[in-house]
Amino acid sequence: MVGNKNKVLKLSTAGSVDDGKSTLIGRILYDTHSLTDDKLEAIERSSKQKGYDYLDFSLATDGLVAEREQGITIDVAHIYFSTPNRSYIIADTPGHVEYTRNMVTGTSTSQVSIILIDARKGVIEQTKRHFFINNLLRTKEIVVAVNKMDLIDFNQEKYNAIVEDFKLLISGSDYQNQNITFIPVSALHGDNVVDKSENLAWFKGSTMMEHLENIRLEDIQEEAKARFQVQTVIRPKTEEFHDFRGYAGKLKGGELKVGDDVTVLPSGRKTQIKTISFFDQQYLSASKGSSITITLMDDVNVSRGDLIVKSAELPKESKTIMAKICWMDNKPLEAASTYFLQHGVKLVKSKVKSINHKISTDTTGATEKVSQLNMNDLGLVEIQLAQPIHFDAYDENKGNGAFILVDTKSNTTAGVGFIL
């Protein structure tokens, strides 16, 4: 829109409460002129009230009364800004271990993650956990912002040492195709966030915003097999569209074209794509991410939750799955407990067969035998389903390899799973 029509980049930010993450975001908003006058006034007022002698940009991002008083960020906050190039959405999440689930949530909707390091502390337990989560979620593009460079005199040796430490984490990871970029910054004073700085003249790379602006979506989106899950069946039953029977949904993974040989699951019926439309226009093809309506050549029985795929690219089908689960509920996950498993839009009854082990999020790969998963724990779990689902391994197809577990009594989203 206004030239940014197809260009939205979703970022997630993670850092410890003291790493200056909220300040970094506030600084980005300020330097890209995205802070409106009245918001700026509110920050100036608040900063003065608190007795700060600088502008506390973190005040621009904390949104709920309770946490503003505590001075830390809770939950996932969404912040919007844009440049002439495109629009950005930041999912700002807390850094502490008690909010691992929030970080998983925020990262799940993002295309780029910004991991923040306090230059005085270097790589700490929290950094490892953030890196680990981004690995788990297979985030393609990571920016490691080494912040508070002003507090270490913008020292190049110290910065390099931090980069080396972080690279040790990378070498041990099982996701080798990540793009990881290191950038030294000072969010408080603005060095290298949007504008280059004299203090960091030794750094030859781009500033953070320059780097973000240069990321091309086509480079970071995964190439996966087309998966079209039906959300709703459209039957106008009007004079004009008497026999029209369209299947509406969001196409994921890859492209679909008119004429493609497809299979409808779970029935297994084979047919071809007759038409692809978006609103009142028909198209020859649709790429991943489009919310479209398709019709099929044959009169096949299709309902909500069914999956339409290319016949030559069938997903896996099973009533038993192994998955890494991030637990999000107060009530622990225990073996033999039952939950609804929601795979995309399809809901099936499920039962936890076993909890194999808890997985450490410190990147060591350490595991621990446990009898339950508590909130924020990550574990390897085997689940039995009442009906089969049609899935891909998460690492091969993000859009078809994840699910959520819904508590049958409280209805809450209790956990998220990544299918192996």
């Binding site: 509110a42 939950d75 709703t232 039953k237 226009q281 999000m328």
Partner: protein
């Protein structure tokens, strides 16, 4: 025939959300105020279900302080798209003694809408209410979910919101509960205007520059409509060329001086603007935590 569907990620996402509502709920409704956000919602719903009709009715909580232009617009839209419209009047609640009208310089019926909304939900048995709220509007909305579960009293507990991982939406509720749905959560004010421009949508005339009798107070410009807007004798009425950037009730919405007579000019003006949209809403200025407090009470 066109080659390939052009992706507009924000539009694709909003349509996906509307379709999820149809798939998960029995009696959804679109909360319609006649403002640009709810008009955009209706357009998105139209696109989501085409060539079928929008499968939801509209609900308008009429405070009685609406700009007449938005009422006209609402009726025209409903007729054009052949939609079912329910209107609940805050005045009825005031007359019945259920709620009390505010008085004084900053009196508005904004807070009173909540009761009427809750009553309407109960009367019709709506289980999902689709609204045009956006996260960029205001801090408390920045953390709102796309599917926001409310209890029997329409109340929102910020500590108990469901995680929304990937795009998976969990709308499971018990009888008596209700979900508020926000398909344009990720749209900014500029995104909405650009969409209106791109789609060549009709919107109420008050969004465009026009001559109006106004008066000034606290550095803001108010419509001189004595029936709904309280005015002191020493606040003189003058005629200015203004437009409304946001459309709440006449009693709590300020105008801005503007020469943006058409949509292209409006978009330009918004893009260059340095005051946020809700900066002109006195109901938010009352306290920084105003919105959060209202949501805790069941406000939309």
């Amino acid at each position: 025939m066109n080659e390939k569907v052009i992706n507009n990620p924000l539009e694709d996402e909003a349509i996906y959300i509307c379709r999820e509502v149809a798939g998960q709920f029995d009696k959804p409704v679109i909360l319609f105020s006649g403002g640009k956000d709810s008009i955009t919602l209706v357009r998105l719903a139209q696109k989501a279900f085409y060539p079928a009709k929008i499968p939801f009715p509209l609900l308008h909580i009429d405070t009685g302080h609406n700009f007449p232009e938005t009422i006209e617009f609402r009726d025209q839209l409903v007729k054009e798209l052949d939609l079912e419209l329910h209107v609940h009047y805050v005045q009825d609640n005031i007359d019945a003694g259920n709620v009390q009208e505010e008085s004084g310089k900053y009196a508005s019926r904004n807070m009173l809408q909540t009761d009427s909304l809750l009553q309407a939900i109960e009367k019709h048995g709506f289980d999902a209410c689709i609204g045009g709220a956006r996260r960029d509007e205001e801090k408390a909305r920045a953390k709102e979910r796309v599917f926001s579960v409310r209890d029997d009293f329409g109340q929102w507990d910020e500590k108990n919101q469901r995680p929304e991982v990937f795009d998976m939406l969990n709308g499971r509720i018990d009888f008596g509960q209700n979900v508020r749905v926000f398909p344009i959560s990720n749209w900014t004010e500029l995104d909405v205007w650009s969409y209106i421009q791109q789609e060549k949508m009709e919107i109420p005339s008050i969004y465009f520059a026009h001559k109006r009798k106004v008066f000034e107070r606290d550095g803001m410009i108010w419509s001189a409509h004595d029936e709904y807007v309280f005015r002191e004798d020493d606040e003189l009425v003058v005629e200015k060329i203004v437009r409304f950037r946001t459309v709440g009730d006449m009693s709590c919405t300020a105008a801005v001086e503007s020469l943006a007579f058409d949509i292209d000019k409006v978009v330009e003006e918004i893009a260059a603007s340095s005051i946020s949209e809700r900066g002109a809403r006195i109901d938010d200025k009352r306290s920084e935590a105003a919105m959060e407090k209202r949501k805790q009470q069941g406000y939309f």
